[in-house]
Symmetry: C2
């Protein structure tokens, strides 16, 4: 699939992380692009988050570059604000754009000073490396504990032609955006004005990244940026909005589901589908409670059809429901009917749970129209291994 | 230390759990006792919880026996209510008391039918085995994944003499009472009327078991019962209330802290002390957020002084505070000052974190008088091992 027109990419190893793996990357739009972003709601916000927000405000939602580093979150650091600014200035100078047209993002360890010289010194080489076909290089440079790069692409036929979307993201610890950084960059060559772009991104995030276990509980650095540079020559009409939005939702759900697949130490992706709740919000609360239960996640790791833990997690969600009307399916096998054990073959179900995809369905019989779908992953020994020694 | 007068205890193996280890136990008071209880707030409530609540209501807060089994939670079972009642009836008949003077409690797997014959058949032998010195036997019979029995004792000098308190409890999974059953039985030979006993227990639970990571999020079976049989001959006066309450708080905190020590797979107990919040409720919300963060718990497991995760967890708690006023200590070593890295020796601190007790202190400088203390444990590979195959 073709990449959106008018973007170029570069990545290199600047010595920010210990492992010799690209840790500094740049995304550049040859023309000014409309920009929208969604940031962490954590009270503790990293310097690049604060600066990116400021740049978007002062530019009126226009940007031309994303400067991102892995290996250091530049958060809770004495020099954080100065360092983030100096790096954006260096990029802006080299790219010959205004400083506030550069949006910074960082991921990595919190509380360790980031040496700006590592970035400013590498800047000429980084800019020199810009090329239209290096999208994948950037998608690899932003990774931390991820085991594979996460990208998704779309082409959308709109009234005046074809526009393209390309997205990349990096994963988040145990698939709880609340503690580990999620970064996501989505680029399109459609022409979309900022007032239309912003709600579009917000809605797409709500249907994708906010369904990864935890909604709104985000790390100090979480950043999702959408750039629309118009290089396709196609101006998005009001009538194109729906088809474009649907493609965007699909693409961002694809990215979010890749994160679930690559949870730290995860062997299985878990999809949780709740129905029969009074409304979507209640359904989401139940889905999130199931998705966040370590006992559910470990049972799935062990291919143990322990539906009692699922029922108990739902019962703890705070949403009122009658357990005698609760039905639960695992891999389309009914394991709980009216709050009681259903008749199923445990050996056969265990077999089905051995795959790398698990679907939990929870329905309140005779309930309301509220539905919600969440993604998470199983919880394995490997998760502990990774996180017990992340810094050392 | 002497046990409270007028209680006897029995335990045996009734074949409810697979492992040949006592799984049925009885606590009996030779005289009717005032009884108070605190139960799970989960929407899904096990049959014994519903029956115990009913018995307490119909008896007006009087009880004479606690009948408890491990190995089967008797929850989400077709026959649950009938089974719980039949077991209480068998005990009542053998003990020659009214059925509603028997309070049932169960812990174990959810959703598997409990064969009442296992319990009713064993009842004569169980009652025959009652003896004043078998307190420890009962404390062992109620355990599930616990690695040691948890008991605590107190003697309190009141106006008219000495009264005694004895308590036992069993642990709760990953130290989140929200998913694994906590049972606790506290017995005293003081004479205390139910209207005084109830708020006394509620306050004590609030200061102890509700400070184990999660407040109010409880399993389907959580039950805490306090019996006061007056066998000491000491009627608790209003003026004795404070000294007795303090002893009770101390004893129940002791029990709760033993649970934290024995978290599934835990190597370290973690105490979290938050101060400088606007009020106690806000302090508790921050403390709970830190206590529940898997990233904090795994960092402590790895003796990694990763204070950034603590700051980020607090930032996600939903409580508003200025990160630039946050100070954090690990083992009394200041690791974060004004939201930034403090100057400390990492190798020395790692050494200090290798012990089996970890204290995290979080203070908002210039904040309010709100303080709170929580207990939790580290999160290790062993937890996953235990929970990935609990049923199989």
């Amino acid at each position: 699939m073709n990449l959106p027109a008018g973007f170029s990419y570069s990545a290199l190893y600047a010595g920010i992380r210990k492992a010799r793996q690209d840790d500094l990357a740049l995304i550049f739009s040859t023309v000014p692009a409309a920009a929208a972003a969604v940031f962490t709601r954590n009270r503790v916000q990293a310097a690049p988050v604060r600066l990116a927000r400021k740049h978007l405000e002062s530019s009126g939602g226009e940007a031309q570059a994303i400067l991102v580093n892995a290996g250091n979150a530049n958060c809770a650091t004495r020099t954080g604000a100065r360092v983030a600014l100096a790096c954006c200035q260096a990029a802006a100078k080299g790219l010959k754009v205004k400083t506030n047209r550069v949006l910074p993002a960082s991921t990595g360890v919190i509380g360790v000073e980031l040496d700006p010289a590592l970035i400013t010194t590498a800047m000429p080489r980084l800019i020199e490396g810009l090329a239209a076909d290096r999208f994948e290089d950037v998608s690899r440079a932003i990774l931390t504990t991820d085991t594979f790069a996460k990208t998704a692409f779309a082409e959308v036929a709109v009234k005046n032609g074809i526009v393209r979307i390309a997205g990349m993201t990096k994963g988040a610890g145990m698939i709880q955006p609340n503690m580990a950084t999620t970064l996501g960059f989505v680029l399109t060559d459609a022409a979309i004005m900022p007032p239309m772009l912003r709600p579009m991104l917000r809605k797409a995030v709500d249907l994708s990244f906010n369904r990864l276990s935890v909604d709104g509980d985000t790390s100090t650095n979480d950043t999702m940026i959408l750039l629309a540079n118009g290089a396709s020559g196609c101006n998005l009409k009001a009538s194109d909005r729906q088809v474009f939005s649907e493609a965007l939702h699909h693409l961002m759900q694809d990215l979010a589901r890749q994160i679930a697949k690559d949870g730290e130490g995860a062997r299985k992706r878990i999809t949780i589908e709740v129905s029969g709740a009074a409304d979507e919000a209640s359904a989401s609360v139940i889905a999130r409670a199931i998705a966040n239960s370590p006992l559910v996640k470990t049972a799935i790791a062990g291919s143990d059809p322990n539906w009692g833990r699922i029922l108990s997690a739902a019962g703890n969600s705070g949403v009122a429901f009658d357990p005698r009307k609760a039905d639960i399916w695992l891999q389309d096998v009914k394991v709980c009917t009216s709050g009681l054990a259903a008749d199923f073959s445990e050996p056969e179900l265990k077999e089905k749970l051995n795959g790398d995809e698990c679907v939990i369905r929870f329905n309140i019989r005779g309930g309301g129209p509220g539905r919600s779908r969440f993604w998470t992953c199983d919880l394995t020994e490997k998760y502990i291994e990774i996180n017990a020694s992340y810094r050392t």
